[in-house]
């Protein structure tokens, strides 16, 4: 029989503790998290220093009439929960009743150490091989990278039940690659099985080491074809952040026009935590609400809002996410998925005429209030007379959300692919893993900016 997770071994006691803590009119839950991070510093010549960190923690949250109390403690066992409940009760003015508890028994952690280390050795070898494939000839390349395999296990304890959110494993790489007097930020994330993820990392690294061209993009307004991977970042910044309910129901240029057609007919964008192949997936959110897919744009019309339990005036729809047990959950995206159209990639390039093909976006930001957004393009090519042309140096691409959505061509790519560059989303200092899948897209009239030489 499978051994219960370290986070779930005292399920009955934990549920009793949480239900005994809450008074009439209060809602709340306990949240347990265990994060195991195997990491390696790495350069173009291979893996360097290995490291392991294991952090576990418990939070108790109590909500009442718009107020939230959160007490967090290190450790994910019964002692940490009792300590957090005791302190939460004191701060909230409650008097939690503590029943005698059974010993939690010997931790299985010791028994698991040897097995885990043998597996880790295999992963080290796989990553070293991936780096060797990525840098077959490292001369002239300088890479400073941090590679991490992160296993996150979370459980929510409500007054009625203990709900495992599941364990998620990600391979994450971040750092800088320099070649020919130019530096390029590199980020990668994959939730696929380790061997597949390592292969994808090797390909992404190899692509990132191509020489950075010196040709600047055309300044000012430009028509842009986004590759499927870059289109995921576009949707993330332009639609996703604008429809997270933490700014209130009227906190963004999109939420203020709910029900209006803002994009071409036939275009659907939804947030889907159930896409297990993408890094932002989960089954139960960090407040214990069952995750579900939420349509944000349907047929080009603004339809939904991503909500957590605290979002003003909106029921939670399973998007309460937290960066760690110490932080309060907020309404956040998971995996943003756009539907396929009917055009081939080549047709979009041809339709563009003169413009830019954006292959990868390193990072982006948006101000949902004003609608301004900026994407920092890390890999691009010029398009001239409907054909792919010279590679372009990195540049910034800006625009306004409603104008950009209105400027999307009414045909888009027929192949939806997962994003490779979209990894961690940081908002308000809180980082959560996110994913995306989209088809290629043609947007007219965005504004290219580049540093003058």
């Amino acid at each position: 029989m499978r051994e219960p997770s370290e986070l779930a071994r005292d399920a009955d006691d934990a549920v009793r503790l949480v239900s005994g803590l809450l008074r009439r009119g209060e809602t709340g839950e306990a949240f347990r998290e265990r994060v195991r991070t195997e990491s390696w510093s790495a350069t173009e010549s291979g893996l360097l220093a290995p490291a392991l960190s294991v952090e576990s923690g418990t939070a108790v949250r109590i909500r009442r009439e718009g107020r939230l109390l959160l007490v967090a403690r290190s450790g994910a066992g019964p002692e940490a929960l009792r300590d957090a409940v005791r302190e939460a009760g004191r701060l909230a003015g409650n008097a939690p009743f503590f029943k005698a508890h059974r010993s939690s028994g010997t931790s299985p952690a010791e028994r698991a150490v040897e097995r885990a280390e043998a597996e880790e050795e295999g992963r080290s070898a796989a990553l070293a091989a991936a780096l060797a494939r990525a840098f077959p000839d490292p001369r002239g390349i300088s890479a400073t990278l941090q590679l991490s395999r992160i296993v996150t296990e979370r459980t929510v304890v409500t007054p009625r039940a203990l709900l495992p959110c599941g364990a998620r494993t990600r391979l994450v790489a971040a750092g800088t690659i320099r070649r020919s007097g130019a530096e390029r930020p590199f980020s990668f994330q994959s939730a696929r099985p380790f061997a597949e993820a390592a292969n994808a990392l090797a390909l992404a690294l190899h692509e990132a080491t191509r020489p950075v061209p010196g040709l600047p993009p055309p300044p000012g307004p430009v028509d842009v074809v986004f590759s499927p991977s870059a289109a995921s970042v576009f949707w993330h910044e332009v639609v996703g952040h604008s429809l997270e309910a933490d700014g209130g129901e009227r906190g963004s240029v999109l939420s203020r026009v709910k029900g209006a057609a803002v994009a071409p007919p036939g275009l659907d964008v939804h947030d889907d935590p159930g896409r297990a192949d993408l890094p932002g997936a989960y089954g139960v959110d960090d407040e214990g609400t069952l995750a579900r897919a939420i349509p944000l744009l349907a047929d080009g019309v603004v339809t939904g809002l991503l909500a957590d339990r605290r979002s003003g005036g909106v029921e939670s729809n399973g998007h309460g996410r937290t960066a760690s047990f110490r932080r309060p959950p907020r309404a956040r995206m998971s995996n943003l998925v756009a539907n396929a159209g009917h055009a081939s990639f080549g047709e979009l390039i041809e339709r563009c005429g003169d413009g830019v093909l954006v292959k990868e976006v390193a990072t982006g930001s948006a101000d949902p209030e004003s609608g301004r957004f900026v994407l920092l393009v890390s890999a691009a090519e010029a398009i001239r007379r409907g054909r792919r042309s010279a590679p372009l140096t990195p540049f910034a691409l800006g625009g306004e959300i409603l104008s950009a959505l209105g400027a999307i061509e009414d045909v888009w790519g027929n192949e939806v692919l997962p994003a490779t560059g979209l990894s961690i989303c940081v908002k308000g200092g809180d980082a959560v893993p996110v994913g995306g899948a989209a088809a290629a897209l043609l947007v007219r009239g965005l504004v290219a900016r580049t540093a003058r030489r």
Binding site: T37, T43, G46, L47, L48, A49, P50, A51, L52, S53, V54, E55, S56, G57, E65, G66, R67, L68, L69, L70, V71, A72, R73, S74, L91, S107, A109, E110, V113, E117, E121, S124, S142, T144, R178, G181, A182, E183, V212, G247, G251, R310, S311, G312, R326, P328, S365, D367, E369, S370, V374, L376, A396, G428, G429, R449, T450, A451, R452, R453
Partner: protein, 446 residues
Amino acid sequence: MTPASDDGLFERVLDAAASDGSGAELYERRGRLLELTEDETGTSLLESGEHGLALRLFKGGRSAFAASGPAHALLLPSQAHARLPRARTRRGVRLPAPVAGEAPEGRPIGDPPAPDVDLARTLLTGFRQALTSSGRGSVAVREASVALGERTERLATTSGRDTAWGSRLATLVATVVGRTTGGRFSARVVGAAPRPEELPVARLARHAADRVLLPLHGRPFDATRADVLLDPLVASHLVGRLAPLFLGDDEEALLAARTRDGRDALASPLVSIVDDATVSGGLVRGVRDGEGTPQGRTRLVERGLSSGRLTDTAAALRLSRPLSGNAIRVAWSDAPRIGVTNFFVDPSPGVSPLDLLGSVSRGLYAAVLLERPDVDLAADRFRLVVAGYAVEKGRATERISEAEISGRLSEFLRGVSGIGDDLKFAIGGTGSIGSPTLLVPRWRTG
């Protein structure tokens, strides 16, 4: 402070780690954090405790790292030992030696006291009032939070270093929204101080109001070349991006390329750059770094010429430079790496920003950043998108909603012709980054 209650756990882990003759360094951190947040939905009170241990093993020129909470701390030696054979180093590692003249303390640490929620509430109220005044009714707080934290740390090595210390930090983070007939704009501003009473609440409120109102008023800047005055909080974000050049010997080649192997100046002779963990006004007030080394002041650029490096134990040995105390542990679960404490351009005493403004005949005062600065050290280029004021004959004349300042970074730094005495800091890197007002004449703008 409550006493330590782990019954010698720290000593047991360190003894077990060194049982096979490896050099070992064990670090322990205990912290308490209180965060009070007010937003449109209501209020949140977060009270958080942390306790973690991190072990570094050193053997045969290799090093391995493992970290966990106290519940599994006894596993750390075996976890680190298992990783040692797979470790490689590019430039060597070194176990921190005892600090000269210091006796091992051997002092267990306890949990710091819980911070005061009433103090947090007072600071939030002060910020709201200051913002109402600065924003003249056009700026609202969407969310504001004050966090008060305190931590105690201990580090011991098998070579005889054993020391304990404590530190505090207060932060104020706010998302504000400007609403005028010209439209809406929101921004997030962050302020910090080593003590709650030092939080620059009024200054942060003024900055927040500028940040959301300037883009809504005025006109885009149309001059293609103008004298540029950078506000300290704009300049600090540009200066901060130079920090990687001074982190040990990581970027020796890049620094050599920027200065033609030391033949050229990195910046104007007016510019000196310093890292100082104890400087007044700095957001970090460090005592010791993540290897237990006492922290102080390190001059990195002296009158425009590169002169120093930030070091940890290993880098100091490699570079034959003194230990600067810059091994930073961002979290207890992270291995220490070289980083900044308070990294800043030294101010010019007696030169007020008004003096600099008075010297501008036609120019731009860049008051706030509208986007994250785009700086490429390898390609020697930068781009700032700012809002601020047009300047004519030494006076601010009209508001500028957007302007771009870009070009070759080395030329910009060598072109600095004036530095104010108004040093201010922002959160950046692994600590804080700072600058006074900077003046660069005849720069490309748009």
